[in-house]
């Protein structure tokens, strides 16, 4: 069975985030004065063929750890397909 996951990769707190900073500092000029703590990371969506969701998730976890994130500077979390549907 095919399982769809989303992986959110975020910068570890405290590290420089030039993109987040750039977005944050451009907001007031656009009329958004009440926004703070903007951080930019990566979003990865992928499908995994596996017999169970647990097995698929294990693979996604390994991929996220080994390739999609750099553990020195980034954290990640995996959202299963169900969570992905919780969209606004």
């Amino acid at each position: 069975m095919r399982h769809r996951f989303e992986v959110l990769v975020t910068l570890k707190p405290g590290l420089a985030d030039p993109q987040g900073k750039a977005v944050e500092s451009s907001l007031p000029a656009l009329g958004f004065d009440d926004v703070s703590d903007v951080h930019i990371g990566r979003h990865v969506r992928l499908d995994v063929e596996a017999t169970s969701e647990a097995e698929a998730r294990e693979q996604v976890d390994a991929i996220a750890h080994r390739l999609l994130s750099n553990p020195v500077i980034e954290d990640y979390r995996v959202i299963g397909s169900s969570a992905a549907d919780e969209e606004a």
């Binding site: 570890k12 405290g14 420089a16 030039p18 750039a22 990566r42 390739l67 750099n70 500077i73």
Partner: protein, 240 residues
Amino acid sequence: MAIATPRVGVITFLGSLDDRDALRAVATMGGEGVALWHGDHDLQGVDAVVLPGGFSYGDYLRCGAIAGHAPILDEVRAFADRGGPVLGICNGFQILCEAGLLPGALIRNASLRFICRDVFLRVETSQSPVTADLVPGEVVEIPIKHGEGQFVATPEQLQHIEEAGLVVFRYADAAGSVNRSTNPNGSVENIAGVRNDSGNVVGLMPHPEHAVDPDVGPTGGQALFASLLAAALAGAGALP
């Protein structure tokens, strides 16, 4: 007795761009350049290894991330463990960080823009294969050309990097003074290049291979390549 010619391997990853330039720089400085291929498990018995600049795999995921898993990295790791001199330039530096051979990481420039221009680097240590012939405090002029050259590290890493003297170069001015205005990309502590604990693996964002031929740029890379060739001749990386 004939003087041996050091053999310096330059790895081509998919998306490497300055690989030919690095080979040419090795030759210009009197070494023999040997082209190596990312997919091979073979360093062809070279005396030193250069990971060149470029955009391996487009740097699409994260600079150096995918190339950091290339088959040849196993050989580079073993070579480095034996003490062989390894130099990562720009994308090569990013790959070495991703592969865990050097501390820290490189993220987008503080300006969020690619920057191509000449910079001055202050040499911080002579304990590295590319600075062995230089004296700390000396200044060399070399171009940078990168969009993701901002060196960052965790606080613990950074403390170790500074305490153990792992910084090899800092962005400076012509007089060697290091401050915010001489920092082109936001790197923490103006760090332009670092080494590993044993000193034989070095990475830097600037491009010494574009600084050996006076007709096309500054010449601050000459001393670095001369050092690397000398280190290669010492043969530290040879198999027992």
